[in-house]
Amino acid sequence: MLHPVFRSWKSVVIYFGAWIIVTMVQFSILFFFYGVPGTFAFIDSLIFNMMFSLMGIILWFVVRYCPLGKGVSWNMLFNHLSSAALILVGWMATSYFLLSSIFPSEARLLHFIRDSLPSQAILGVMLYVLTGLGYYLILMYNDLQERLKAEARLNELLRESELNVLKSQINPHFLFNSLNSVSSLTITDPEKAQEMVIRLSDFLRYSVSASSKQFVSLNKEMENIERYLEIEKVRFGKKLDYIHHIDPACQSMMIPATVLQPLFENAIKHGVYESTGTVCIETTCTRDPGMTIITMVNDFDSEAPRKAGTGVGLSNIRERLRLLYHRTDLLEFRAEDAKFKVILKIPDNHE
């Protein structure tokens, strides 16, 4: 993160402007209440405060090094005490050295400065605390902003995936081709046509209702996938084959709604649509400590040129997982020997 003082010209002006005000306040106190001669009072407050303004810039790094995180800790307190001691000693020593080299012969002034060192030190502690608090406030504000941004992004992605589900349920190719199959079946096998219509309706209904919820059980999601595959199976017959191996322990685990649908659509689009042989989709769900692992393997024609859109659906899923679980290693995929493999890990806990 950029140093807040140097983010823009404006912030530099504000920072040093604030120190000029502090300088003027101190000058007035010295001049009007303590009767310190004008030049001395001015030079003294100017040097001390300008030196502190420089020290204050360094303080930012101490604050960054000791972030608030989960509240105040002893470690943090110790770090701040030592940095305060160092900064104060450095500050007073340099200021005193500067003043004494500006007025080498003014014994009266140097005496005054030496006398006022203890009160200067107390003032320094106050300034340290104030500057530090200021920085922490900025950090907290930034943190809040980032959180809000992440949340907005999550909502946006969710809406996007809902939209995609909505699109896939009315994916024109899928829908009209399925209806064409129904039309054909009404002549050759009316009973099967009816089954197909019911399945299609159930699939559409699930997609509409699931999109408003964020999490569903793996069981429910797989049921819908099964419907989808059954419909495609009517269209493609022996060209499409699928096997599910689902560990019973996975069935009630909650997973993000419709996270699996794009994976199967991908497998159909790049596998079945582009191939002339049989494409088998093999899905395995197993449990690992703290997470459910879903593995999908499908055949694809490695000679068919890659179409646009490969990977877009997958990276959308990855982004959604990152926002939900704060991890980027939950989705892996690779193509090897005419097999496309996707490994999806769903942790049990999400934010």
Binding site: H173, F176, N177, L179, N180, V182, K239, Y273, T276, P305
Partner: protein, 250 residues
């Protein structure tokens, strides 16, 4: 009486079945072959010389439209598609008949009447087909493969394998590691239909695959050449060189 030979080319079995059922009302037509992909469909058309073909658009290996481009003497064709905005637009503009899935028996009969008329009058089908191909070229979509013909063999080249394309009059020559292929299309067509993040036109006569480039060299003042990984050297115009530099982030 000789029956009209009919082929059905569609990758979905139910879609083929309904055509058969509807067609059974026309005893003068006989289904002599069914094919599940564009490649075998093309072979079927060439070998059996049918009178009528039912052709689906979306198919593996070779789409119905890619198949169409490769036919020298196309038979009467009735297209079918579930959903393809551009194809539908192209059909309308070229006055070719098509069926939108799912379709009714009445709609099927209508298409058959037209087809029967075309068969009986022995109309030249090449013209509407050419018009169709030409309108399809206006489809702004990116292409990912190119079907080319060498005598009677058809090669499908994934565009990622193209090294560069050179203008050859009304044709272009497509260079790949596997050899060169002539294609009856314009440079303009490839300029607009190849993925612009991979291909760029560097000269009036050259479109190059960015991944095939080894280096750029200054040849003469203001004259640059592009050297490919296989040591081919291509000229670049100054405008072409500029866009090339932008795409390579130089």
């Amino acid at each position: 009486m000789n029956k009209y030979k009919t082929l059905i080319i569609d990758d979905e079995a139910p879609a083929r079945v309904i055509i058969q059922k509807f067609l059974s009302a026309y005893p003068e037509f006989e289904v002599t072959g069914e094919f599940e992909d564009g490649f075998s469909g093309l072979k079927g058309i060439r070998e059996t010389n049918p009178d009528l073909v039912f052709l689906d658009i979306q198919m593996p290996k070779l789409t119905g439209l890619e198949l169409l481009e490769l036919l020298e003497n196309p038979p009467v064709i009735i297209f079918s598609t579930a959903y393809d905005q551009y194809a539908v637009k192209a059909f309308e503009m070229s006055a070719t008949d098509y069926l939108l899935k799912p379709y009714s028996r009445q709609r099927f009969d209508q298409a058959m009447q037209k087809a029967i008329q075309s068969i009986k009058t022995g109309a030249d089908n090449k013209q509407p087909v050419n018009a169709l191909v030409q309108t399809m070229d206006n489809d702004p979509g990116i292409i990912y493969r190119i079907a080319v013909k060498i005598r009677h063999n058809v090669h499908v080249i994934p565009t990622s394998e193209i090294l560069y394309i050179e203008a050859e009059g009304d044709y272009v020559m497509i260079f790949t590691p596997a050899g060169k292929f002539l294609k009856e299309k314009t440079m303009k067509y490839f300029e607009t239909h190849l993925d612009p993040s991979v291909f760029t036109r560097i000269h009036r006569s050259f479109i190059v695959n960015l991944n095939a480039i080894a280096r750029l060299e200054l040849y003469d003042k203001e004259q640059y050449v592009v050297k490919l990984k296989d040591d081919t050297v291509l000229k670049a115009s100054s405008a072409g060189y500029k866009t090339l530099k932008e795409k390579l982030n130089l």
